[in-house]
Symmetry: C2
């Protein structure tokens, strides 16, 4: 009988592990609480009416269909019994010979309850549509609002966190306002609209070289995003946001992209060493004392060259592939060297024809970086049809300055 | 100062009225509670994972942008003061010189509370996604279900109403099951899956010629849809459906497409003659005593050649255009003859390469009818980008038997 590998989480890590393991005489069971793989790096484009949510998600069963010996189970994992080698799900227990844990991360509000309550975030697929609805509805309310102060507050969007997500979202939002919505609302001046980016450090894109970080800052300011450095949000109300220095920003929309933490499942494991909520793994990505359990992606804590690996997609992908290769090697009684992350660079797009990127030890900015950003995102997006639809949307936007998905959709609760 | 026309409802009727009226020195105000025009005839394809919801909706502001003298207001209309010529909305009062009322229809459950509570319907954009989630989730639950009876009930879908919507949905659903989901669930036999179409009359597509109605019935039965003629649903529970003859069908999904009634706004008008809830209009489509108020589409009741005009899109479109032309004529002190509906035919698609259609006094069925159905729907769909995305999805399905949008999306309530 084939040995059984269970992979929890079909994010960037889980998918890579699965791809590495298929067709190797193993029984694979993939478990996720969604029936799709989400391409999260483009979620902010759903929120800014540039893409439909369907084009950044891909059915897991559509992939599994082509993978021999692989099954998928839609369910929430409630715990893991490491000693009995069982995954506990809402649909019952599942046994394993090897386990790959890649349940990812959730938004970290750092215990600020009012922020958690009123802020939007961009982690799950539904977050994109919810934020898009909020943005578009705010403009519809603004156009009908008589009180100029309230109108301005409706058109003020506060984004917290100057990392890639915050920067990309801020740029996409100000472009939505200036290029698209300005034409949609001829009866109202959109000069009143504000996009405020709040960053706690003294620069944005802190992980990038100084030169690129500065370029991104200037570019955003050119586009009239108000960037507030050395600044922190401490509290929120439905119609205003409070900063640490006492500033109050009247705003109906707060977007939080200032941090993530490991998924709650990481804390549900007993007797496992943790660091900052993440599972501290061995250099082979396994849990100490449980060489059959791999942890990949945002859930895993591992230091390399004295610094913890960042919670980003490339790390998760490389970890997923490694876990897969390691299992295959062990099945053949071979050994492979410990995991080592190879930083191939990072990138962020700021606006149309403007991005920053590092790769091959070089810095790129402007049009070229933007083109590379675009092609790489299309490359990593899963599903051929998705790539076509995304390309189509981008071409439309590039040529016509038009974003077609500006619908305010009603949500309908399940029966 | 220009005279002011208010159009309520941006469905097929309202859109045509607006298009006819623009650029004629009139002030146009369009009012809708959604910010998009919905192409409702393809909503069943959203429910069966063939199309993303964004591709059958088009931003109203994207259209209005190109229409001089036209504004849009997103709001719910709460009433109309015919004497003072005021539209009452949740955002205040709006005055008019001419009013075009085209608020459409809502699902008619004929007072059956249990059915209204548990059935899905296909009227609004969110209905499509809600039903898609229900269908896909039912299969995910079925594959994990141990009890064979319950598994079968999860895979049983009861559709009420053998009109075009019910027939098209039944055909699209059985194809989703047989062509797509059968490959997604190799671990489970989908022979147990049932699509039951319940029709009260002794034939389906009752408005079609006998020959086409019979073809559609045979075709659906060939595709293994269980068609129950002379049959009525009288009650529903979450896990079963009760028919008038005492039959109980174990089923977790009931879809209601057996009738519509005029939108509640029709009943909110005082002192207006009504017939079956619809507003009985003059031959000029105006309300008796109020020649400045036109009613178009599903809200309007008008007999022609002894029979009431049906509540379908072509009637709404022709009424909308007529209302526009009539207003323009009166502004020039001209008169045009009363409204007359020209029946250009009707059509319904049953499955891949199979449809029925009447046009030019001829009956068409099979591949040719299907091709015409396809081209006409693309033609009437608003938005060039939407047409491309829909064509792409259809081509994909046609060649690869693949429907890509099979995502179970979580709904997220607004803050």
């Amino acid at each position: 009988m084939n040995r059984k590998v269970v992979i929890i989480g079909m994010g960037f890590g889980g998918i890579r592990a699965a791809r590495t393991l298929v067709a190797n005489d193993l029984d694979l069971l993939l478990v996720d609480r969604n029936n799709y793989h989400l391409f999260q790096p483009l979620l902010y484009q759903v929120a800014t009416a540039a893409l439909e949510q369907e084009s950044i998600a891909h059915s897991i069963r559509a992939m599994v269909r082509h993978w021999p010996g692989t099954r998928f189970q839609l369910s929430e994992v409630t715990g893991i019994d490491l000693d009995r080698r069982l995954v506990l799900t809402e649909r019952g227990e599942v046994s394993y010979d090897y386990l790959v844990l890649g349940a990812g991360s959730v938004t970290n509000f750092f215990g600020m309850e009012s922020v958690e309550r009123y802020a939007f975030d961009l982690k799950q697929l539904s977050d994109g549509e919810a934020l898009r609805n909020q943005i578009l509805l705010s403009f519809e309310e603004a156009v009908a609002e008589q009180d100029p102060q309230r109108r301005r507050a409706l058109m003020t969007f506060v984004i917290v966190g100057g990392g890639p997500t915050g920067v990309e979202f801020a740029g996409a939002l100000i472009e939505l306002v200036n290029f698209v919505l300005a034409k949609d609302y001829p009866e109202m001046s959109l000069k009143d609209a504000r996009v405020v980016l709040v960053e706690a450090a003294d620069k944005i894109l802190g992980a990038m070289p100084e030169q690129l970080s500065r370029y991104a800052l200037e570019k955003l300011r050119d586009m009239s995003v108000e960037v507030r450095l050395d600044s922190r949000v401490v509290r929120a109300e439905p119609e205003r946001v409070f900063l640490a220095d006492g500033t109050v920003i009247p705003s109906h929309t707060l977007v939080w992209s200032a941090g993530v933490k490991a998924a709650p499942l990481a804390c549900a494991l007993e007797g496992v060493p943790r660091s900052g909520g993440r599972i501290a793994v061995m250099p082979e990505l396994t849990i100490p004392g449980h060489p059959e359990v791999y942890v990949v992606g945002d859930m895993a804590f591992l230091e390399q060259d004295g610094a913890p690996l960042p919670m980003v997609a490339p790390v998760a992908m490389q970890m997923g592939s490694y876990a897969g290769r390691s299992i295959l090697a062990r099945e053949k009684a071979l050994e492979i060297p410990p995991f080592r992350y190879r930083d191939k660079g990072s990138m962020a797009t700021i606006g149309r024809s403007a991005a920053v990127a590092t790769a091959f030890g070089q810095n790129f900015k402007g049009y070229l970086a933007w083109l590379v950003w675009l092609l790489l995102h299309l490359y990593y997006l899963i599903g051929f049809r998705n790539r076509i639809v995304v390309t189509l949307n981008w071409a439309w936007y590039y040529w016509f300055h038009e974003r077609q998905v500006r619908l305010i959709t009603k949500v309908k609760a399940p029966h």
